[in-house]
Symmetry: C2
Subunit: 989 residues, 2 copies
């Protein structure tokens, strides 16, 4: 039943390249632009519907668990349609497709036709239109694009052009990323509005009417990344005393003089006063008033009934000389009115991080909150992209099955999902959705492999592939005790990669590579730390570790065969030391430790470059618990990071160190105490050092919440500068205790210097750069010259009063949650660092996917006769600075492809150049490209049909550009400029 | 504007006598009667909308003051109409016309037509249809009938027969009066449902399936007073876990298997279980489930959406063998199904007072709560009836102006209005409405008097009449210092009366009666007690008191002329004693006091009958303040009377006594302390003693709430029996610590024996009866043999947790409220008491109305030339046992008249006989009756068209009667049987 319903409703995209026709009833032409001589107040009726927060998305949808909060989105949408039908003047906007799609699925044809009419008449307008209102700090660009495309596709297929979102509407996220502005611009959006801005930033902008601006969203993409951006007057709720929602307590408009409490004159006067005050902060004679808030509109008749009256009576005052003109509008119509005002606007080139809502309340804790969920989300994206590729290259056309994971990922991007700011039961639900989506994806992967693995001429024999998601704790129960199994690794990048898989086993095996050679593999004991992780049930004591060189955009299968006679095993050389100084070294790098486990130096041997470390390791900040006597000082919590004191305490002054050296890897395992350890691995031939950290259960016997950081103190002469990426793409310079656009008053020395680290952070001086890549979003910064600190885990005993109402105290198996993760350390010259961190970061989020199977073939020979053990979609080498971002089979013959240049300008001598590639290369195994149409980034409009509004900056720069020209391509060959992403719908012969 | 609107919308009744046609779509014929072999569950979607309680009626209507509670009836009705339009299966009932009328006035013609369609199709059904859901303990029958007629008229005029209510729906009132059942039966209702029943009563009825019965509503009226009565299963809310209102927290039906938390099987199973459990308490295979509660349905789409699903899925289970059949229904359809079941039903002859919701929580405090409001409501009714009479006899046809007071009175009948159980600001609003209504009525009175006062042939000269409502504290500011003024007294009864008006003055006057004679008047000092009442601003030190004998249904005017020369005044004889024993005596009565102010004896001289008194006076109960350690013991509060200990404490062991004797009156003023006093008055020729009590400010310095009673301890050998009236009509026997229908477990010795005293209470033995008449509703009983106690005032410092959330602590002028009132004491033989208390009570609630004017005529002679100083509508004497209950001009030539026999069977040798009268007598001054149609009591149906459902009792008595036959009349002459009220629409030639 479940699947059938979705298949019916989520018909694959068709005819995207067909010509678009705009209805007369919707779009900018339908806008009320007010009166030129009046103060025009655009009333925007809306609802802000979190796809999960205090309740799960489905609980919010249905309105269940109302003991938590009384909200039900099904009723909101029911009532919005009814209220819009009542009065054609009314307008409403809807934002979150994750909810709208749920509702739409349950509607009758009659209701659907009504909604279509409302959309076509511009009375119901979709704004932003992502599956969720994504977080901006902890989301990866790949998933932002995907979730916006998912919503855009649903809207396009359901409603057509009238439903194409034109406005970014990030009213609630807690800080705003420049990359998001850039991506929105590339989606063809004309503007962006948001509600939350640092209190100091708002303070300085307000008197100078600088709350609206042109945001230059990219340091690389020029005008195509520019986006008009407006800061809303007061979050996103109604002006004080004018909230008419059923959940509000403001006075209704009581306009029947026969009844008591008639209040029209007082309300009209108060509104006109509020409009005048608001207009002081804005540059034109147009202002916007958002009428709505979290889950408002559950009986929106109440809101509209009173707004109808307010509009009527306020405008009546014009005959008495009032200059206030008020009418229903939408964010896009407000934007259009600003555009028509032909003003010149200030510009902005940095971002809106970090965000302090009030003094001392820096919302920088959520950069790290729920580190396990943050990793799981990144892992699920990895699987989603691999699944799409496998579906596409196998031409299974199973996109509807992939929808489950796409949908779960869309929801997971929500600003209370991957951000870690939801209640625990909701976090569990997000994880369950991803898990369910992965299960569905596995069916696609299986179907795809059944085809790809079978040699031509062979009957397709489905040997079920399965994931071993717990290999991060060295557990893979299905292979335990098996006489044979295979490990297949799909490399989703378009470049070959070398990785070092680890396979936990309960017995010894011979491993064969795709051409039958026995792989030289290390057989290493699993560490005590790992074995002690709560919840691990595996009996595996050892793990194999070996080098696997994988073809670009393809797979290798490794065949594991139990050793017939264990006695015959010739042990490989393993050298181990305990609590002695040791040096891990390969041809490129040398890493030096002392006997107490302190990292001393990392030497880049190729460049003869040494970075020295002092007291590298784990520290904790005590979480401020809140204090009833100083309620203005918020507690540390899911959102806010507020250390009790600004000094972090080391978890231990020394650790025990265990160094192990093999041909394949050299490792230093340092255990600081029973809840903190780290393991450095230097692989053969590697140009980076891998650090795997394990933290937890964080102790709370002392009733003190703790926020754990890893600190890297170096001798790099970095001053106060450090660099962090935005959503995995462009990197922004950060300066300690400094904001680029206002004279910053430092109120929180530590958390006010934290920034989101989505994929990387670095510090540098003229000669040295230490770059750290992360495997998930984390928060951090440089609190001291030469130092980087990254928060990896938090366990807090108080709520920060920002709404979630729960202490962030993650537990599992009856104790605090244990989390592990990776940092990749790169020591290079600054000018050579980009190629390491760009390639490294891309490989980290698009990691080869390991699937296992239990073949029923009697022998390896038999297996290799039947199954194809290596395959690549490519025959030609692809340029290193090109990334295949999306490869998605839409229909039998249609594909959606995104390719990107993922280097920035001027960061690498070679790879920062533009690059040319041939899309046909990707389709070698599929067919010949018959037709390709370039689309906007979220794939809902041919680029040739995009016409964005033009703006003028105070510096007399026009945003105007001929977008299509700048995107010209030649046949299937195209050029990519630094940081450019190009989106194509491709039809195959 | 205000008036215009009401005039437009409340067009006077027309064509009531026209033939009625029932639409096919409404009424019993449209009922779903379920399936014979199933357990049929009638789902009744409803809302319970208090016309004022925590908020004023208009605040509830608009949904303002939502900081108090988030309710808005305008939105409820908006959403009900929308939801009914969506699905023709849905049904909703609406009850309170006070709200519906407000809403209707604001609707467009389009919306009105939609509503009419819903009503005609039976999808929206009006139930009960009074202006409010009236209280049953503290309301007077005159006002119950009026408020039901007001709602019925609105419904009839607006919607016609489909909107005629057929069911009493008293789901929330706190105890149920037998008189209400009788009145409902006479309104043509087929049944009554309520929610609140004494917890012990429910306990005993439940296992024996006795929650539904035939209630014999009158000891006098036989079958025409019988009413099928059902006790709802659990108050009036939804069964546990099935409330789908926006304010509820129960799980919605989550029926999309694609979403998380799918719960259909669990919900269906739980519902079927709930239905089976409920059916154990009811006699047929039909049960009713009320789906609604206080102000529910504000977004009733939520309720219906889930109920739709519940019905669908529960009935689906029938294919799996479930016997539960569930469908939308209404109380009348449920009743009809019970009627069709042809069962025999138990009967009941007593009432449902008092009501204990839980052990120790007797809701008997509200019988007295807010004594000033209770009196003001009775006073307002007095004015309303007088205004109708004056309008009718002057033929001014100003009914629309009277509507204001009718409407205010309709609202004041609400079970949180006159009951005194509302918040203070709401009580103030009720009083303001009555006051505003009285102001409007004064315009009618003025217009009427302008005509009636002017002698024929004279130009009508309007000398504005005004009320002096503060004469109860001897204050009438407009006449202070005036050289001349008139006092006109309208007697609204159809019998001449003698009264003793008191006129506070600042100088001496000569008073002339209607024929110019100087009236012998007493000139008495105003007491210190009165002069000290907070808020009194008058400088009057004296008051005139004189005997006024008024014509039946007419007026006298008394002319006050300042004495030209005060020296010439011949003082009338006044004899005064202080703190001495004294005896007040006239030809009928002798009242004896000792020197400490104790009442010793009252002697009926005519019958040589003495009743002795011991320790008569004022006592207080300490209010139980609640105790967190025993939360099961409720505090005393607005609803609940719960004394801390069962002993009342005297306010003083002795008082100072001041006796004054004049020709007209003999008075004994007894001051017990600075906040309690009483004054006995024995008027010349009177057969009753008047006691005026003054209580307040009740001291609370000791932080103890106090409930003040007057106790009359006598030597009457009354045993445990006492007698209290129901709503001012029939009297019920009460037995201390006893309930007629179950073995009563005494948990509260005092409050469990309290009953509403609407107009009278008595105790008696073979030879003596002490009857006490009250001027308002009070609570009381007989706690000891020979004793009567009546609670007159309450000041409480805690809330009783029954919802109002406020302590009943009335204040005025910065201190506790001072209240005064009257008890009329009658000492007679039991067999002769009825004629005293029947006539006395009728005169008390239909008291002559005093209006004043300041004539601009130079002299009395001049005045008497122009103005008619005495007038009566009647020329013939009317029988003493007939009361003119209603005299209301509907249109130019149409009148609504109610006449009643107000004696019970067997209580008086003469007056308990049936009586014949001629209606034409009433119309002597107006014209000849051309046509008269007898109507049901609430005047919305010709009696000849009434067909009530027939029922059979367990005693094999059929309720069937030919109603019209029993009401036969002959021309304009008609017969009235004891306690019969007959209602006529009369057309005049």
């Amino acid at each position: 039943m479940a699947k059938f319903c979705i298949v019916l409703l989520f018909i694959v995209t068709q005819g995207l390249a067909a010509p678009y026709k705009s209805s007369n009833g919707c779009g900018y032409d339908s806008c009320n632009l007010g009166k030129p001589d009046k103060l025009n107040v655009h009333i925007v009726a809306h609802t802000h519907d979190d796809v999960g927060w205090l309740k799960t998305v489905d609980q919010y949808y249905y309105g269940s668990r109302s003991e938590i909060c009384k909200r039900g989105v099904q009723y909101i949408l029911d009532s919005v349609v009814a209220a819009l039908m009542e009065n054609p003047d009314r307008r409403f906007i809807y934002v979150e497709m994750g909810f709208f799609w749920r509702w739409w699925n349950q509607q009758s044809d009659e209701m659907r036709n009504i909604v279509k009419q409302l959309v076509n008449e511009g009375r119901l307008e979709f704004i932003s239109g992502g599956w969720s209102m994504h977080d901006e700090a902890t989301t990866h660009y790949n998933s932002i694009i995907d979730q916006h495309s998912l919503g855009a596709e649903f809207l396009h297929d359901t409603f057509g052009e009238c439903a194409r979102p034109k406005i970014g509407w990030q009213i609630d996220p807690f800080g705003h990323s420049r990359e998001v502005a850039s991506l929105f611009a590339q989606m063809g959006f004309d503007g962006l509005f948001f509600g939350r801005i640092d209190y100091q930033d708002r303070l300085f902008r307000t008197p100078e009417k600088k709350l609206e601006m042109i945001w230059k969203g990219s340091a690389n993409l020029d005008r195509q990344s520019w986006l008009f951006t407006g800061v809303l007057p007061h979050g996103y709720s109604a002006p004080l005393s004018f909230c008419y929602d059923i959940m509000c307590s403001d006075p209704p408009i009581m306009d029947d003089k026969n009844l008591h409490d008639y209040n029209v004159p007082e309300r009209v006067e108060a509104f006109i006063r509020a409009a005048h005050i608001q207009s002081l902060a804005y540059a034109t004679n147009h202002i916007i008033m958002t009428m709505g808030a979290d889950f408002q509109g559950q009986n929106v008749n109440e809101n509209f009934k009173n707004l109808d009256k307010l509009i009527h009576y306020v405008n009546l005052e014009q005959v008495n000389g009032s200059n206030v003109n008020i009418f229903y509008s939408t964010p896009s119509c407000y934007l259009y009115a600003l555009n028509k005002a032909k003003k010149e606007w200030i510009t902005k080139t940095d971002d809106f991080f970090p965000y302090a809502s009030i003094p001392f309340a820096y919302w920088t804790g959520y950069f790290t909150s729920r580190p396990a969920l943050k990793r799981y989300e990144r892992y699920a994206n990895n699987i989603l992209q691999v699944t799409r590729q496998l579906n596409g290259f196998s031409q299974m056309n199973l996109r509807n099955s992939i929808f489950y994971l796409s949908e779960a990922m869309g929801i997971a991007q929500h600003h209370d999902a991957v951000s870690g700011t939801e209640k625990q039961h909701v976090a569990n639900d997000y994880a369950q959705r991803l898990s369910d989506g992965i299960d569905q994806s596995m069916e696609v992967i299986n179907a795809a492999y059944a085809k790809l693995l079978s040699k031509e001429g062979q009957t397709q024999l489905n040997v079920p592939q399965f994931l071993c998601p717990y290999t991060n704790i060295s557990e893979c129960l299905p292979i335990e005790g098996q006489a044979k199994f295979t490990l297949t690794l799909w490399n989703p990048t378009i470049h070959s990669v070398t990785i070092y898989p680890r396979v936990p086993v309960t017995q010894e095996y011979v491993i064969r590579d795709p051409i039958g050679n026995i792989v030289p593999a290390e057989y290493l004991p699993i560490s005590i730390t790992t074995k002690n992780i709560p919840g691990r049930t595996s009996s595996a004591q050892y793990q194999y570790l070996f080098q696997a060189s994988l073809p670009a955009l393809g797979y290798n299968t490794y065949y594991f065969e139990a050793r017939a006679n264990a006695n015959k095993i010739k042990r490989r050389r393993v050298k181990t030391t305990f609590n002695e100084a040791c040096i891990l070294e390969n041809e490129h790098l040398s890493i030096e430790f002392d006997g107490q486990g302190h990292l001393k130096h990392i030497v880049n041997l190729d460049k003869n470059l040494m970075v020295s470390f002092t007291a590298q390791g784990f520290y904790w900040y005590a979480s401020f618990p809140g204090d009833p006597t100083t309620p203005e000082l918020p507690a540390s919590g899911a959102y806010v990071f507020r250390p009790f004191v600004s000094e972090a305490v080391p978890v231990s002054l020394s650790g025990s160190i265990n160094c192990t050296k093999t041909d394949t890897v050299q490792k230093a395992s340092i255990v600081f105490n029973d809840w903190v350890s780290q393991e450095f691995s230097l692989f053969r031939g590697a140009t980076s050092v891998e650090l795997e950290w394990t933290v937890g259960p964080i102790p709370i016997h002392d009733n003190i919440g703790k926020e754990i950081i890893i600190r890297y103190n170096t001798n790099i002469n970095s001053g106060s500068k450090y660099y962090t990426d935005a959503n995995g793409r462009e990197v922004l310079e950060r300066i300690r205790d400094h904001r680029p656009t206002w004279p910053y008053l430092v109120d929180e020395r530590i958390s006010g210097n934290y920034y989101p680290i989505n994929s990387r952070i670095w510090i540098r001086d003229n000669d040295h750069q230490l770059t750290i890549l992360t495997d998930r979003s984390e928060g951090g910064g440089s609190m001291y010259d030469g130092s980087i600190e990254i928060m990896v885990h938090r366990r807090i005993l108080h709520d920060d009063s920002m709404g979630v109402g729960e202490a962030l105290n993650e537990t599992a198996y009856g104790t605090g949650l244990v989390v592990s993760g990776k940092h990749i350390l790169l020591v290079e010259r600054p000018e050579d660092s980009a190629r390491l961190h760009r390639v490294g970061a891309q490989q980290l989020f698009m990691h080869p996917l390991a699937t296992y199977s239990l073949p029923n073939t009697p022998s390896y020979a038999n297996y290799s006769n039947i199954y194809r053990q290596s395959w690549s979609a490519l025959s030609d080498t692809m340029p290193l600075n090109v990334h295949l971002l999306t490869f998605d089979q839409l229909t039998h013959k249609q594909y959606l492809v995104r390719v990107e240049h993922y280097f920035e300008l001027n960061e690498d001598e070679i790879y920062s150049q533009s690059v040319t590639m041939d899309l046909q290369t990707l389709f070698k195994s599929i067919g010949t490209i018959a037709n390709m149409t370039e689309l906007v980034l979220n794939a809902n409009l041919p680029l040739s049909q995009l016409h964005r509004l033009d703006w003028m900056t105070k510096d007399q720069e026009s945003s105007h550009m001929n977008i299509f020209q700048s995107y010209s391509s030649n046949g299937t060959t195209l050029t990519l400029y630094p940081m450019q992403i190009r989106t194509f719908q491709i039809t195959i012969n």
